[in-house]
């Protein structure tokens, strides 16, 4: 169950952090329709995060930070609001500020394409809960990916300015792409136990799908180096980007001010 818990935590943190970023578009999107659509994606991911964190807590209670005796804070919130940065297990791709709409679209495309492929396999998890979460997630992620791909194409073939921004966004986000497929020990163990998916196994199919989007859009794969590890570790090891600390400061500030609060 430690492996299952750690695996669910990684997926849950990915969803939590990206949802947090996307929620920052609320009242800031280019149009009302996009405001609504991005909130939808954020809500879907937040829902997945809650299920995944709850699964992790149920599988291994030792992951959940200790709170004052009698604190009414549920496990999902203890995990989201009372862990420190190094205990978050999300990939680094999801951490940076949203940037402009192009950066957001590119990041969502890369994330959703990879995540959808993982969830399609996770449906067969030997853990029934994860399997059920995956079933729900597949529907949602399909929409997210299609939404992002549609905008990718639109921006690529819209105006000169939108194309310039799309290409800049792609170059900015691309260096964090490989980490999605770099198998972490937890993922390997989860895959071996039949509860999780080795992301390396979906790398090739994801690449084909991305190549399709790129080629339909007439956009070249950027020639930029992939972001390396820090002291041998990446996001899944709790080694994050500089954006993560600030994100958590904001995310956690109210909850931490009231460790015994009811909400």
């Amino acid at each position: 169950p430690q492996v299952l818990a750690a695996y669910a935590l990684g997926l849950g943190d990915d969803a939590l952090v990206l949802s947090h970023r996307l929620s920052q578009w609320a009242s800031n999107a280019p149009d009302l329709e996009e405001d609504i659509a991005l909130a939808n994606v954020a809500l879907d991911l937040l829902g997945q995060a809650r299920l995944l964190l709850a699964r992790a807590a149920a599988a291994d209670a030792s992951l959940v930070p200790a709170l004052p005796a009698g604190s009414p804070v549920p496990a999902e919130d203890a995990l989201a609001f009372f862990r420190d940065e190094a205990d978050f297990r999300n990939v680094r791709l999801v951490e940076a500020d949203n940037g402009d709409f192009a950066v957001t679209v590119v990041r969502l495309l890369l994330f959703a394409t990879a995540r959808l492929a993982v969830l399609q396999r996770l449906v067969a998890s030997r853990d029934a809960v994860l399997g059920a979460i995956a079933v729900k997630g597949v529907k949602e992620l399909t929409y997210h990916r299609d939404y992002a791909a549609r905008w990718f194409l639109t921006l690529a073939q819209g105006t000169a300015e939108s194309r310039r921004r799309l290409e800049a966004g792609l170059a900015l986000v691309w260096p964090l792409h490989d980490e999605l497929f770099r198998t972490h020990a937890v993922e390997r163990a989860a895959a071996e136990q039949g509860v999780g998916v080795d992301p390396a196994d979906v790398a090739a199919e994801v690449d084909v799908l991305l190549e399709q989007v790129l080629s339909v859009s007439g956009v070249a794969r950027p020639a930029v180096a992939q972001t390396g590890p820090v002291a041998g570790g990446t996001g899944r090891d709790g080694r994050h980007t500089e954006a993560m600390g600030r994100l958590l400061a904001e995310l956690q500030v109210v909850a931490r001010a009231h460790p015994e609060g009811r909400w």
């Binding site: 609320a26 009242s27 809650r50 939108s162 109210v254």
Partner: protein, 317 residues
């Protein structure tokens, strides 16, 4: 095709007959210019209020203290965007585009509800806005479900349903916080103290200073006077405040058995006038935010338009 005086008389008569029957006026029907202009102004102001109203609550999405509350708040702000969409669509049936109206909002030529010019300073404000502000909005809006203009009335039915849901969620948040720590209870009380008077102002100036009310009621655009709605709201809020365990910050608030209503003090109408004229705590911030988001999104909207045009070309011949 011009309309002769006799034709016009006939059209006016038909229009007034529709109103008298409490029937709906529909986009294809003839309507007096002043009716149309009043409707556009009111619907636009209402749409703008939904859009600007996303800001004070949106301010707390990233700091929501539980994942459940974060989901509820994000969904609520999303609903407001949806309400804005319905209402701009209703306005479009009267021949004005969303772009035009947005332009007027940003340049200050059209207003939005003055309540959104107050800041949200704690997470309790999310609950208080749900309870008091959405509560006041519902009191204002329920009668509008029966308003004479069809598309507006139908939009209001949908909106009111969602607003009631939001109000219950807001109340429930406050109720939960009141069962929490001492600090949380104090936070709720402080929030209610700040929002009570601005919420009362949401019904507009007293009837004797509200020049447009009579015409709007005659046209069936409005169904109750400001003071009637305000009284209803106060009467509804007092028992809710008691249930919560908070004090409403009005020393004159007392039950009047004779009237069968609560007596209550008057909001600071000078403050109201100042806020309406742009001098509230957040007026310039709210408009600057909207303008920034709109300006920063221009290139995306242009790209979508250019893309659609390009797609349309090959198949259009």
């Amino acid at each position: 095709m011009s309309v002769t005086a006799t034709d016009e008389d006939r059209l006016v008569a038909q229009f007034e007959e529709v109103l008298a029957r409490h029937d709906r006026v529909e986009p294809r029907d003839w309507m007096p210019e002043a009716y149309r202009a009043t409707l556009v102004r009111q619907i636009a102001q209402h749409a703008h209020s939904e859009i600007i109203g996303m800001q004070p609550e949106g301010n707390w999405i990233t700091r929501a203290p539980s994942l459940r509350r974060k989901a509820i708040l994000l969904a609520k702000v999303q609903d407001e965007a949806g309400h804005g969409l319905y209402l701009y669509s209703a306005a479009e049936t009267l021949g004005v585009s969303r772009d035009e109206l947005t332009e007027k909002l940003i340049s200050g030529r059209q207003k939005y509800s003055s309540i959104f010019n107050y800041p949200t300073l704690s997470y309790a404000d999310v609950g208080t806005i749900g309870w008091l502000v959405d509560g006041a909005a519902i009191a204002n809006q329920v009668p509008l479900c029966r308003t004479s203009y069809g598309p507006y009335g139908r939009a209001m039915i949908r909106i009111c349903k969602e607003e009631s849901f939001h109000q219950r969620q807001g109340f429930e948040l406050l109720m939960t916080m009141m069962r929490g720590t001492e600090a949380q209870r104090a936070m709720v009380q402080e929030s209610v103290d700040r929002f009570w008077w601005p919420a009362l102002m949401m019904f507009g100036p007293p009837d004797d200073e509200s020049p447009n009310t009579a015409q709007s009621m005659a046209w069936g655009i409005k169904r109750d006077t400001n003071d009637e709605l305000r009284q209803k709201f106060v009467d509804m809020s007092v028992p809710q405040a008691e249930a919560l365990g908070v004090t409403l910050p009005d020393p004159d608030l007392v039950w009047n058995a004779e009237r069968g209503h609560h007596d209550f003090g008057q909001p600071d109408w000078d403050e109201f006038a100042t806020v309406v004229r742009g001098g509230g705590p957040c007026n310039s911030q709210r408009i600057a935010h909207r303008k920034r988001a709109h300006d920063e999104g221009a290139w995306v909207r242009e790209a979508a338009t250019a893309f659609a045009a390009r797609r349309a070309r090959p198949t259009s011949d």
